[in-house]
Symmetry: C2
Subunit: 349 residues, 2 copies
């Protein structure tokens, strides 16, 4: 597998950054999480005056063999239909990215459709979808490594265009099933706490989904190499999840700010964190998904994301709507007056 040279961020300027934050005309700590974001980004960029350049969201789309088991409320064809919707600007992620000045890139990671006449789609297709992991591993090792590399390459290209803040989104009917199993194995949490309703399963379908995922884990667990995150990824993952994982690793190597969306993207991050835990220094968690497993995995990582709006749409929508908050964090750091500038008296008791 491609190696990434990822280092923990330098903490050299942390006290200077904190002093700058505390010098602003506000009570100490009064901007709450915005102050933590400003500090984090200052460390990522190793500067007291960080900036956001060419913000970009990449949406990776892929199909899943497990969809044929009826684990989603929508049929598989919705994956490619939504990709076309992304390209024509009608999806939520298009509307929110446009509103907030974010570049949007759509990637075919492995959709079961021939997109021959769609020049705006980035073609990184590994195959027409993963295999049904109830029967065999979702992908083979070569496919998995290809997906990681392609995801990394696409991120690298954004970096070459000057982008220093990158968000990840996804589309793939069936992909909460993959994410649930990845989470269950990598975090050692029972599958029941990782499975949710996805796009809207009712009680009986949710029960069925849980049974199917249990069965799949039972089948493969003897073959999954313990402690090998890539083995878990290739057995149960999706091509979009693998590409996001490779993209995250590449972004961390390039000192980019990494914006984490909901449940699926977090599952890709879990794999990346097992490969190199320093990746976490570069991540901002944009929202808590209403998909049940997401709260549990965030608790496991001890993370409080920026937003909790009961959203569960994927596509990177949590990233797109949280982005103005990240801008606010840097705007206060760069543009607010200090007590000294504004001749405001400091705290007296």
């Amino acid at each position: 597998m491609q190696e990434f040279n990822i280092k923990s961020t330098s903490k050299e300027i942390i006290s200077q950054l904190q002093s700058k934050i505390d010098s602003k005309t506000k009570p100490i700590g009064a901007l709450g999480m915005l102050e933590l974001i400003a500090l984090k980004i200052g460390l990522i960029q190793n500067t007291l005056s960080p900036e956001l350049i060419n913000p970009t969201i990449i949406v990776f789309a892929g199909d899943h063999g497990i969809a044929s088991e009826g684990v989603s409320a929508y049929p598989q064809e919705v994956t490619h239909q939504m990709v076309l919707n992304f390209l024509s600007g009608g999806a939520a992620i298009c509307v929110f990215s446009k509103q907030n000045g974010i570049n949007l890139k759509i990637v075919d990671a492995g959709v079961n459709f021939n997109f021959s006449n769609t020049p705006n789609l980035i073609n990184a297709k590994i195959s027409m979808g993963t295999k049904n992991f109830l029967n065999s591993p979702a992908m083979d090792k070569v496919q998995c490594e290809n997906a990681l590399s392609k995801g990394a390459l696409i991120v690298k290209e954004q970096g070459e265009n000057g982008c220093n803040i990158i968000g990840f989104g996804e589309m793939g009917i069936g992909n909460t099933s993959s994410a649930s199993i990845i989470m269950s194995i990598l975090c050692n949490i029972s599958i029941e706490k990782c499975v949710g309703r996805g796009t809207g399963l009712d009680d009986s379908s949710l029960k069925r989904k849980t049974q199917i995922l249990k069965q799949a884990i039972k089948k493969h667990i003897p073959d999954v190499e313990k402690g090998n995150p890539l083995s878990v990824l290739s057995t149960f993952g999706g091509f979009e999840i693998a590409m996001i994982c490779g993209g995250i690793l590449q972004a961390a190597e390039l000192n980019m700010i990494i914006l984490i969306d909901g449940f699926i993207v977090t599952s890709a991050l879990l794999v990346a964190l097992k490969i190199n835990p320093s990746v976490l220094d570069y991540c901002i968690f944009c929202h808590k998904s209403d998909e049940k497993g997401h709260s549990n995995v965030l608790n496991n990582l001890n993370i409080e994301p920026l937003l909790d709006l009961k959203m569960r749409l994927g596509e990177g929508t949590g990233v797109a709507i949280a982005y103005p908050l990240i801008k606010s964090a840097l705007n206060f750091l760069n543009n607010m007056a200090s007590f000294e500038d504004a001749n405001v008296t400091k705290k007296t008791i």
Copy 2:
């Protein structure tokens, strides 16, 4: 007191609005609270295609006699110093309003300072600050009614400029003390659950603040007319709180979207709700303040605000940074493709 003709919003188009929301290319309910905001604004404007025009935040500033008791971590002079900081663009609210395209108006509701050479400040000064309510009522009835009317007039002027969405902010050293007592009496919650650290009191100062507020309540409670919110407001309030209350009532009469900030603005809203509970139909709660009383009052009202970023700065900063989320709610409603538009297959199970 000035009468306001405030009606509950018409629910005539509620099912049409919900159908429009549900027709968008996303699982039912997948945009969570953004869907509730879209629905609420559709009802306020009684249209399937609502819009936001000339968004404006008005920051009302006033001084408080109770500040002389040492209930704040900052001295009283910080109120006028911060007003000057607002006018010169260095405060957090200036930075965030500018970022998000929001007009910002600053009002002298009753600051203990002579702002003679500041043309951009709206002069609505009632007096050089309220009286210390440990000794006498903060204001008399005429002052209170004047403040309500002036707040209403300033909002009316924004409406005449086409503004249909208005947020309220405040500045006033000592005003968490006023807000705590208003909340305690109007919500019938013990003062201990309403008092917090304000701009950053330590444990012993917090204890002292609580004792002072208890003493003030004990002194005035025989004279405060039970069930008369204006009596509570004039006895314990601030001029900025009274003007916000008048502004909220006027905004509801004018069918404007009302953006509620943190603890102080919520205390002004409590008074307005006692005057006319239909005001709530027009309110969007932008954030949960880290000031302790705010969680308790929001629970009392059964409200979940958009943001919970542990901020406690006031000034309307919660409104300013939440505004892009409100834009997102209308953008998805107005600009996303429907399943039909995009030829996407609907849910099958």
